[in-house]
């Protein structure tokens, strides 16, 4: 067999690893700041006044309010810290698993610098309030395009490397990398489809329930295919290397891979349980989340059991210590995930910090510790030296572990406490026992503990960074050079697409499923025939398999030697779940899909206010969805006609704002009817002055609130000029705005602003910084501010008009006696 000498490109690996550590520190630092803000509202900017001994006067600094920096934290940790870590692991292991240098150094460089540029773009735009208003999908559209371009470059470089490989079979890690690349591309593109209105603003093309569904199809699978599958690929490579023994069960890894890739994508709707999301989608989300238990634990057990016979290393080797703990956290988080997806459990946990604790046991334990283990393993090899300090690495481990445990335990207790308090009723069950703010006050200590736990984790990570830095300094950056056998691929090894898709396993699987589906949809008798055919195909499949089991095994062996058909099969496997869930939801007639309520169209100023609400990240604390649960309805939707939120109430909202956690109360019923004599001004649950005072100083109206002060909103002018373009974009997306000229739009916004400002002045509002303004000057000062536009929106939230009610379906019989009564 001819051989050749190759030098691996380890420079790219070193770059990504360094970037990951750098952004990890930044992301965690921002996380600690965000955590402290929940216990001490002063951390939203007031602390700068104290630090500078009054030199910097600030009630709140817009750039670091919780609503703006929480997205910065989540994006930094997911895409900057874990993203760069994944790229480091993928570039290192792929070259070695393929026994070839990465196909293009040039593409590697563009990938690295392009990704860092996007992160810098995010770090600038998110604190500036430039956002799309969807969780983990906040980046503005030019950055979205940048992500897609860089991802494609990464994909091209990766698949090109696979094509040049000198190893015939694709190892398990590469399967997970392939699944990551193709699935993230699909999810990202669909969820980021937007209609731009300017260079920094766009509206998602989906609205209301459709936007919610697409968002959580993406959001859940960002966890699945960005934070799980690539890390599993890394686990399957680096764990055997660190333990110096092969993976526990290769067979189990096959089942683990296909089951995980197929099931994960279906589970997104579990983020919308008990909402107005259609029932069949909620059922799917719960069912598939429960099924995820099996493949997730298969992966965890496979990882842990790979350490069989190497457990003694746990005492001495920090790499094994980090890996073993990370895999254990993976097992714990993937046990908890399906548990939280059970509808009854979700009723308690959703919108509380239990979910935040769950996410962080995965992020800190699974991702963070896998990253640390991989960095400690890589650093001595990339710089050809020994780890600088094993003691320091051990300290990192223990400080980090205590940090995670404190964090997660605090969030469990906080979440369950808040969930229970929010649903507790007074004797008789007709009224609720606690105000929202009381639940918040009761968990304040847990928030402080969370901040402390997070700080500990950051301290541990900093020790790790020092250790890696000193290790690098003590060695010399060197790329590995190895002698490898050149793989000669003959015709017999190549599998054409036709062969791949006409193989027995695929044919029998697809046909039997097709007839199984026809069984549900065909008319009587034809359905039974379809079922018989499906069973017949199943039996025939078994006969074919028994006659020649070797051919089935050969098929799969050849499949993992041919990356193109393998990739297409993975894509189809992953796409099925999305197609089944999303296509029916997109095809329905939106205007008719409202149950009995249709949302009122916003006025221009209300739209401007809504955009400010989105930009300030209010959705990070306030939901706009009253769930179909008695406590939710009692708390937020009282009244015989209001109740829980219906589909139609947010049907024209681009983006949807149902939220995913409640640090403040739900706002679905905040808005109200028009004020008598006015054509635009509305009055909801609270008057304009209450909202004004609440934004200037939340504790003035809600004692104990941890909301940041938004006084700065009354210093900035609302962007009225951009409204015509925004309204035109919304009309294109199907929002039935009335025909208006550009001037009429701007004039309408100014008139409504003036009307609200007049009401505020009449009610006695004053600006703390300018208490001496005359009423006329104050009215002019306020009329065009962002704050007044936001008040206009808050007074409109949830406004709807009723339409013809759908025919009532007869109530299902709950017991045999009821059935007898209706059939007699």
């Amino acid at each position: 067999m001819p051989t050749t000498s190759i030098t691996y490109d380890d420079k790219t690996v070193r770059r990504f690893m360094t970037a990951s550590i750098f952004w990890g520190i930044i992301g965690m630092l921002v996380g600690v700041l965000a955590a402290t803000q929940l216990s001490w509202w002063q951390m939203n900017g007031k602390f700068l006044e104290m630090l500078s001994f009054g030199l910097l006067k600030s009630e709140g600094l817009s750039y670091i309010t919780f609503g703006r920096i929480r997205p910065l934290h989540t994006n930094a940790v997911i895409f900057a810290f874990v993203g760069n870590m994944v790229f480091a692991g993928v570039y290192y292991s792929t070259q070695r698993l393929c026994r070839v240098r990465t196909a293009s150094d040039w593409l590697s460089r563009i990938h690295f610098w392009g990704w860092q540029l996007i992160i810098v773009g995010a770090a600038v735009t998110l604190p500036a309030g430039l956002t799309r208003g969807k969780e983990y999908a906040e980046l503005i559209w030019p950055l979205n395009i940048g992500v897609v371009v860089i991802w494609v470059i990464f994909g091209v470089n990766f698949f090109w490397t696979l094509a040049k490989r000198n190893e015939r079979s694709l190892y398990v890690s590469l399967w997970f990398y392939i699944a990551t690349i193709v699935t993230i591309a699909m999810l990202y593109v669909v969820n980021h489809l937007s209609l731009p209105t300017s260079l920094v603003h766009s509206y998602p093309i989906f609205g209301g329930v459709q936007d919610g569904l697409v968002q959580w199809w993406y959001g859940h699978n960002a966890v699945a295919f960005f934070l799980t599958t690539p890390i599993l690929g890394i686990m399957y490579y680096f764990l055997p290397k660190a333990a110096d023994r092969p993976v526990y069960s290769y067979r189990l890894s096959i089942i683990h891979f296909w089951a995980l890739v197929f099931i994960y994508i279906w589970a997104g709707p579990h983020h919308l349980l008990n909402t107005s999301l259609p029932q069949w989608l909620q059922t799917l989300g719960m069912l598939f989340s429960l099924m995820l238990w099996a493949p997730s634990w298969a992966g965890m057990l496979n990882g842990l059991l790979t350490l069989r016979g190497a457990w003694d290393k746990l005492r001495t080797d920090p790499v094994i210590k980090f890996f073993a703990t990370a895999v254990t956290f993976y097992g714990m988080a993937t046990f908890e995930g399906p548990l939280l997806s059970i509808r009854a459990v979700n009723a308690l946990s959703h919108y509380t910090d239990w979910t935040i604790g769950h996410v962080h046991s995965g992020a800190l334990g699974w991702n963070g510790f896998m990253a640390a283990g991989m960095f400690y393993w890589l650093a001595p090899r990339l710089w050809k030296t020994k780890l600088w300090s094993t003691t320091l690495a051990n300290m990192h481990f223990w400080i980090g572990l205590v940090g995670i445990l404190l964090y997660v335990a605090a969030m469990w207790v906080a979440g369950i406490t808040q969930g229970l308090m929010l649903s507790e009723t007074n004797p008789g069950g007709a009224t609720l026992k606690y105000e929202f703010v009381e639940t918040l006050r009761s968990i304040n200590i847990h928030y402080a503990l969370r901040a402390f736990g997070g700080t500990l984790y950051l301290v541990g990570f900093l020790l790790g960074a020092v250790n890696i830095y000193m290790t690098a300094r003590s060695g010399k950056a060197t790329d590995d050079t190895v002698e490898v056998e050149i793989m000669v691929t003959g015709k017999k090894h190549r599998m054409t697409l036709k062969e791949a898709f006409s193989g027995d396993p695929v044919i029998y699987l697809v046909l039997s499923h097709l007839f199984m589906v026809l069984w549900f949809f065909l008319p009587p008798h034809a359905d039974k025939a379809a079922l018989l055919v499906a069973i017949g195909l199943g039996i025939k499949g078994v006969i074919v398999f028994r006659a020649n089991p070797g051919s089935w095994a050969t098929y799969f062996s050849r499949l993992i030697e041919n990356h193109l058909p393998f990739t297409i099969l993975i894509f189809i496997t992953a796409a099925v779940g999305g197609v089944v869930q999303i296509i029916p939801s997109l095809l329905v007639n939106r205007a008719a899909n409202v149950e009995d309520r249709v949302q009122e169209i916003y006025t221009p100023l209300e739209l401007a206010g809504r955009d400010i609400y989105v930009a300030e990240g209010c959705y990070n604390c306030h939901s706009q969805m009253i769930r179909t649960l008695v406590p939710d309805v009692l708390r937020y939707g009282p009244g015989p006609t209001e109740g829980y939120s219906r589909l139609g109430e947010s049907i024209y909202d681009h983006p949807y704002q149902w939220g995913s956690k409640r640090t403040g109360p739900d706002l679905s019923r905040e808005g109200g009817a028009l004020v008598t004599g006015s054509t635009v001004m509305r009055l909801g649950k609270r008057d304009n002055l209450w909202h004004f005072n609440h934004l200037i100083d939340p504790r003035q109206t809600s004692p104990g609130s941890n909301m940041p002060p938004y006084a700065f909103l009354f210093e900035a002018k609302a962007d009225v000029k951009s409204l015509p373009g925004k309204i035109a974009a919304q009309s294109t997306l199907g929002v039935p705005w009335p025909a208006m000229t550009k001037d009429a739009i701007e004039q309408s916004a100014r008139d409504q602003g003036f009307e609200i400002a007049t009401a505020l002045v009449k009610a006695g509002a004053f600006l703390p910084g300018k208490p001496d303004l005359s009423p006329e000057l104050l009215r002019r000062e306020l009329a065009e501010t962002e704050g007044v536009a936001l008040i206009a929106y808050l007074q409109k939230i949830g406004a709807y008009h009723t339409v013809g009610k759908p025919a009532l379906k007869p109530a299902p019989a709950l017991d045999p006696d009821a059935t007898r009564a209706t059939t007699r």
Partner: protein
């Protein structure tokens, strides 16, 4: 008209179809795994370990 009542019908059908589809994929993957000869398994499992002189 696509009202909520229509959605409810989907609730009884789609999860069942989806479950069967998943079971099918799982079944095929399991067969594939079980069919793999032992020596081939060992060979594939040791890909990361062999021929890589990357000790520090």
């Amino acid at each position: 008209m696509f009202k909520r009542i229509v959605y409810e019908d989907w609730a009884t059908i789609v999860p069942i179809i989806s479950f069967i589809a998943t079971a099918g994929v799982f079944f095929i993957a399991t067969i594939r795994a079980l069919c793999l000869p032992r020596h081939r398994c060992d060979q594939l499992a040791s890909i990361p370990l062999s021929k890589t002189p990357d000790e520090p």
